[in-house]
Amino acid sequence: MKALTYVALALCLGTPAMAQTPGVTDTEIVLGAVLPMSGPASFPGLGASAGSRLAIAEYNAKGGIHGRTVRMLVEDDGYVPSRAYQGLVKLADDGILALVGTSGGGSLGAMLPVIDEKKIPTMVSTSVSNAAVEPVRPYVFMLGADYEDMFFAQIKYISEHDKPEGPYAVIAQDDDYGAHVEAGVMMAVEKLGLPSVPPVRFKRGQKDFSAEILRLRSQGIGALAVGGVIAETPGVLKELAKLRMNIPTAHAHTGAIDMTARLSAPYNMAYYAADYVVPIASEAAAGFRDLARQHLGEEEQKSLNRFSLTGYLGTKAVLAAAEACGRELTRDCLNDNLKKIDALDSGGLSSPLDFTNDRNTAAREVQIVRVNPMENTVEPLTGFVSYR
């Protein structure tokens, strides 16, 4: 009789913890994502969503996670921070185990108070943001190199290989992303003892850079870092081509995507880009593309882009950590196992994932590529190298 009582007590104490884990039932695990699925910024959101769904489909095809099917709920923030906040509250209401899509830096900033309040395990993979890891939180993890590292790497490469004669310049958009780009270039210029001119800022969404490039030409620049997203790259290249300024240019990871290259093709200028994942059209991503053909529908396959790789890797890490918990899946267990990941195979898409560092951040190694828009090729120039 006593033994039965003890067993009953143990069940009563043990079961509530499992039953109360949001997003986990006997038969399914629910993940959540807040991504820009509509509007001008839908390109990364649709890509990231497809990548996350691919990781989920891969696990479900193997029988799920210890008998639980995984599914994902997505809320559209349209890249508007207030909508991101609302979307996350809805996901929290609906019950999610973890957040695997966090939109842009501003949206993440709006969501962080809710993430902190409810201690939602979060994988920041859509867009890196220092706010996610400063301060470090035991439930927030990030995938990707800082924009500072990406531009530091390119400036270093340019100084060693192109050896431009004129000073280095940076033109970046006036938001937190642009500020990080500037910081990376200025850090490189300082550490490497390179000449530079004052940074130039432009309004996000600006299309005409004639005034800015004219000014930089008058300063006799020898290399230029461009802190734009997609349309800014061809915009700047157009002005450089018009003024016959054949200088090396460094661009963000979005410089290597197909859309940017196609828009830049008329200007006959190759350029550098840096990323912490391989180009999606490269040989290294062939396995990923095959997997997508197996598991994703036609519409989702069309939306595959560079952000699909980061969405895929981030979600894969979360699912691997969840799998390590066995049937007793709780948020604490998920966080503990994520923290223990030190060499998760990325399938060659990035450096192996390692979250054991002091910033809970994996894939911080950067690869520099040369984009040739005329031939629509992206040629890796280096392997994944750490610049920290």
């Binding site: 809320e75 559209d76 921070p81 809805k90 108070p113």
Partner: protein, 347 residues
């Protein structure tokens, strides 16, 4: 229709309404709003809070655009000033929230005179462009005054309380927004019935005639700018408290257009119309979500289309309202109410 409606005392003349049934309905509405947090999910509570904050903002815009007839596209700038002012007063000066919110409104109102004074001779499209330019300037200053505002990295607001209600708590924030919204509506309703309100209406309807009747156009235009912007600044402060993290992106230019859309759809020149318009536009994605679920669309991408639907429906509604129902939703309500009051003799 009520009879025996003679007003016999100044008290009854000044009262918002002398009809006990109206008071009863108003009381029932307030009671329902007070009870709402216990009846809805966390997400709908956040949406309801957003409705209340939008109400404050649009009621403020109605003072300038609806009542005084001065078109303004500067709401996003005024919201930003209010939001950042509130955030900085709380974070850097450690002012209590009860002081920071109204002060943020006053700061916004005062700064709005920098736009109001040069804009005194402007009307219509010219004033709209001037106020739009002012918004751009405000956003530009926010981005470049990094030591003060955090620049592109934004401003984080600590978890503080307002009258004992925690802003980080969904219910607490809802009640804060409700208190401010009710006070704003009562204040503006009374203002509309005051000397200033009547002067604004005269200014809107025919400024030359108003001037010839002795109404000081300069004084009342500036007063309208000040009052409207102060209220919009308070709305911006509430936005900052709700999100607890603000950047220039939170106050995008599209907010100005959304605010005008709310006013147009609800009914220009009417406080009740402003409330209806704000509620309708903010709730439109949820309505769309519900309708899509009714027709069996329950995709895992919960809201991928509802905001696109809202954008399309808002545009269509503005065109429809301007063409067919210029008095907006409040006009439809008034006609419907009159019809049923007179039924079966209504025409």
């Amino acid at each position: 229709m009520r009879t025996g409606h003679a007003v016999e005392t100044y008290g009854r003349l000044l009262a918002l309404t002398t009809n006990p049934i109206t008071w009863a309905w108003a009381g029932a509405l307030v009671a329902a709003l007070v009870a709402l947090p216990w009846a809805v999910s966390g997400h709908l509570l956040v949406v309801s809070t957003t409705v209340l904050i939008a109400t404050v903002g649009v009621v403020g815009l109605n003072v300038l655009t609806g009542t005084t007839g001065l078109i303004s596209l500067g709401q996003s700038g005024f919201l930003a000033i209010g939001g950042y002012a509130c955030g900085l007063l709380i974070r850097d000066l450690s002012l209590p929230t009860e002081l920071a919110v109204p002060l943020a409104g006053l700061i916004t109102g005062t700064l709005s005179l920098l736009i109001g004074v040069p804009s005194l001779r402007l009307k219509g499209l010219y004033l709209a462009i001037t106020t739009l330019a002012a918004s751009l300037i405000v956003i530009h200053i926010i981005l470049y005054a990094e030591p003060l505002t955090g620049g592109p990295f934004g401003l984080r607001i600590p978890d503080v309380s307002f009258l004992g209600l925690r802003i980080a708590d969904g219910r607490g924030m809802y009640y804060i927004a409700l208190i401010v919204a009710v006070l704003t509506v009562v204040f503006v309703n009374n203002l509309m019935r005051s000397r200033s309100g009547r002067a604004w209406i005269a200014l809107r309807d025919h400024d030359i005639a108003a001037k010839s009747m002795g109404i000081d156009l300069v004084r009342y235009k500036l007063l309208s700018f000040f009052v409207s912007s102060s209220i919009v600044g308070v709305a911006g402060a509430l936005m900052a408290l709700q999100l607890r993290f603000i950047t220039a992106d939170v106050f995008g230019l599209f907010l100005s257009i959304e605010a005008l859309a709310m006013l147009l759809v609800g009914g220009v020149g009417s406080v009740a119309g402003a409330i209806l318009g704000a509620a309708f536009i903010v709730l439109l994605p949820e309505i769309a979500r519900g309708l899509l679920a009714l027709v069996g669309w329950t995709g895992e991408t919960g809201s991928a289309h509802v905001f696109e639907i809202r954008a399309v429906v808002t545009g269509v509604l503005i065109i429809v309202m301007l063409r067919i129902e210029p008095d907006g939703l409040i006009g439809i309500w008034r006609r419907t109410k009159r019809y049923w009051l007179q039924w079966p003799l209504s025409v």
